[in-house]
């Protein structure tokens, strides 16, 4: 029996090379995928391990990948004795507000730029994209000047308040979100809004009843992007907020858990790990939409 099978395989003509090619391609892709997965999962795993160790164990010379005396002390201490929960609250409020403001502005702006052909709309669309290319490191100095001017003219102090970030972040998120949404809206066939127009829809109804539902994957992609950017933003809060109660997570962890040259590694790792959770949870829930969103527009649905 075995002989017969071998003979049959040997007799098979050479035109099976396509599937052989494919098999090798798959092997290589798995190899690199595993490599990358290990590479990128290493830091979070290290964070988790470290967060479960005592300070003594962290500084002791031993196997850094093994926990000898697991403890939740870092978690308990961080959540009860520090301002961690304040940072978390600030971050959450700022991010949620920024997402809301960004999506409101960018969806409407993108709809106008993609569909209502008005004088200069193409230039404006390019302008939006160029705005995104300006790095925030260049923007925060003029912003300082603007805040100083606001303070002098209206006597409103914008510095050192967590809610100031709600005004600041959209300068980073709106251009990119608008750009993404222009792309999505442009991929919707023109006949669809013409049909809606003939059906008697106003521009606003066309947007809310046709465009937003059809471009939902794009909107979700833009939402995730906006949330991630405002959750992880470091430079603006570092520059514009200083009091402990006004800090957001990334800056808060750095400024309160590093005292001089003393690094409280256990709590830093714990804080970073907990801080990374919300975007992760959002990704997990919206993953399917996000991936659908990345490929949408490539073909007409």
């Amino acid at each position: 029996m075995a002989n017969v099978a071998i003979e049959a395989a040997a007799a098979r003509p050479a035109y099976g090379s396509m599937s052989k090619d494919r098999r090798w391609a798959l092997r290589w892709s798995y190899f690199f995928l595993v490599l990358f997965a290990i590479f990128f999962l290493m830091p979070p795993i290290y964070m988790l391990i470290t967060s479960l160790k005592t300070s003594q164990e962290i500084s002791a010379a031993g196997n850094p990948w093994w926990i000898y005396n697991p403890t939740l002390a870092n978690y308990i201490e961080l959540l009860t004795q520090n301002h961690y929960l304040t940072f978390f609250r600030n971050s959450a409020i700022v991010s949620v507000c920024v997402v809301a403001i960004t999506m409101l502005i960018s969806v409407i702006a993108a709809f106008a730029l993609a569909r209502m052909k008005f004088w200069g709309s193409a230039t404006l669309a390019t302008g939006v994209f160029l705005t995104y290319l300006i790095p925030e490191t260049l923007l925060f100095i003029p912003l300082f000047k603007m805040f100083a001017w606001v303070n002098e003219t209206f006597d409103i102090q914008l510095m050192n308040h967590w809610w100031t970030l709600i005004i600041l972040y959209p300068s980073l998120t709106v251009p990119f979100a608008t750009w993404i949404m222009i792309g999505y809206f442009a991929s919707i066939p023109k006949e669809l809004d013409e049909a809606a127009l003939i059906d008697g829809a106003t521009w606003m109804q066309t947007l809310t009843k046709i465009f937003i539902p059809v471009a939902l994957p794009g909107i979700i992609a833009a939402t995730i992007f906006t949330f991630t950017v405002s959750w992880a933003q470091f430079l603006y809060p570092l520059a514009f907020t200083t009091s402990t109660t006004e800090l957001v997570l990334p800056v808060g962890i750095i400024t309160t858990l590093i005292k001089g040259d003393v690094f409280n590694w256990g709590q830093i790792m714990t804080g970073a790990l907990l801080g990374a959770a919300p975007p992760l949870i959002i990704y997990a829930f919206l993953m399917d939409y996000y991936i659908a969103g990345l490929t949408a527009g490539a073909t007409k649905g």
Binding site: P189, E191, L192, E194, A195, A196, L197, I198, D199, G200, A201, Q205, K209, I210, P213, V214, L216, G301
Partner: protein
């Protein structure tokens, strides 16, 4: 009453004239087809009637009211698009009721109208499906349903069958005609397919280069084309055009096609053509079906001639034969049993009672 009137309609894109001043009267309940090659301005004209394109000059009136500045939704029209343009996130029922909902029509009225339209189009069992679960033909039906439920003054169709395969296209063509016979709404239909135009229309509007070449019933256009363009555009295979000269002959006129080939002009046409004797630029237009195999008895104005056949194409019910006169390639339709053989001589018969004499300079049929 829903007549549509176009007066001196002009459409300019930057400096390009897409439509160059056309006049058209469409009467109530009429099925009008705009037909012409790509870029002739037929779609632009339709979109101007719909209000999707602004007009650069002239007036459009629907039901007696000038609608130049009226937005599409207030023109009381419904449009069916080439790619159906169904709302992908709504099911068929929602697609069809969307317009009525926006107009705040009562729910039971919407329901009645949607069900009725669904029945007309035979899509009742599809009402809760999403567009992507439908086939091309079904989507087209839903797009028509969406137009019907609104009970508009005018239906506008923009090449609605172009995305369907050949067989389905023929089927949907009949379907559209049936629907029009049921609902009797004034219809403007755009297509580049002359067969679609001929089979559907009460009157066909042939357009070319932004102008109307001719308006008429399908039979009018087929049998009495006004211009060379219409003569060549309507009919498949296309009309043969043979350069010719008109000569004075004993007892009438003679049509010379080549040195050894000439036919007497039918007696009832000699007066009409007399002034063109000796002029250049004349072309004889003769449809393939008027060049057939010879038969035992001769009818008036039929003339036999011998030709060497280049190509023979059997179609089953008839056979196409191709040959050349001078530089012109000529097509004839002969009986499959007439014994046409490529590269061999064959006795053919031209029926000149259906001839057209065309002035190639002006493009007019004389």
């Amino acid at each position: 009453m829903a007549q549509v009137t176009l007066r001196k309609i002009v459409k300019k894109y930057d400096e390009v004239l897409a439509v160059r001043g056309i006049d058209l009267d469409i009467v109530d309940k009429e099925f009008i087809v705009l037909v012409g090659p790509s870029g002739c301005g037929k779609s632009t004209t339709l979109r101007m009637i719909a209000g999707l394109e602004e007009i650069s000059g002239g007036d459009i009136a629907i039901g007696g009211h000038v609608v130049n500045d009226v937005p599409p939704k207030d023109r009381d029209i419904a449009m069916v698009f080439q790619n159906y343009a169904l709302y992908p996130h709504m099911n068929v029922y929602e697609n069809m009721s969307f317009g009525l909902k926006l107009k705040k029509t009562p729910k039971d009225e919407i329901d009645r109208r949607v069900k009725q339209a669904a029945q007309i189009l035979d899509i009742t069992e599809l009402l809760d499906r999403k567009p992507k679960q439908l086939s091309g033909g079904q989507r087209q039906r839903v797009a028509m349903g969406r137009a019907i439920v609104r009970d508009p003054k005018v239906f506008l169709f923009d090449e609605p069958l172009s995305n369907l395969d050949a067989k389905l296209r023929v089927q949907m063509r009949t379907e559209i005609k049936k629907v029009h016979q049921k609902v009797r709404t004034t219809t403007v239909y755009v297509t580049h397919d002359q067969i679609e135009a001929m089979t559907l229309a009460d009157r066909v509007v042939v357009m070319n280069a932004g102008l109307i070449e001719q308006v008429g019933t399908p039979n009018d256009l087929y049998h009495s084309p006004a211009t060379k363009f219409v003569a060549g555009f309507i009919g498949s295979p296309a009309m043969n055009f043979i350069p010719c000269q008109l000569e004075q002959a004993a007892g009438g006129l003679n049509l010379r096609l080549a040195d050894k080939l000439s036919f007497p002009v039918p007696a009832d046409r000699t007066a009409r053509y007399a002034s063109h004797v000796g002029k250049g630029n004349l072309v004889l237009g003769l449809r393939p079906e008027h060049i057939a195999e010879t038969r035992p008895h001769t009818e008036p104005n039929q003339h036999d001639f011998d030709m060497v056949i280049d190509v023979v194409e059997p179609m089953g019910m008839e056979t196409m034969v191709y040959f050349t006169i001078g530089a012109a390639e000529i097509c004839g339709r002969v009986n499959p049993n007439a014994g046409a053989v490529a590269t061999q001589s064959m006795k053919l018969r031209a029926d000149l009672s259906n001839m057209h004499l065309i002035d190639d300079g002006t493009g007019k049929v004389l």
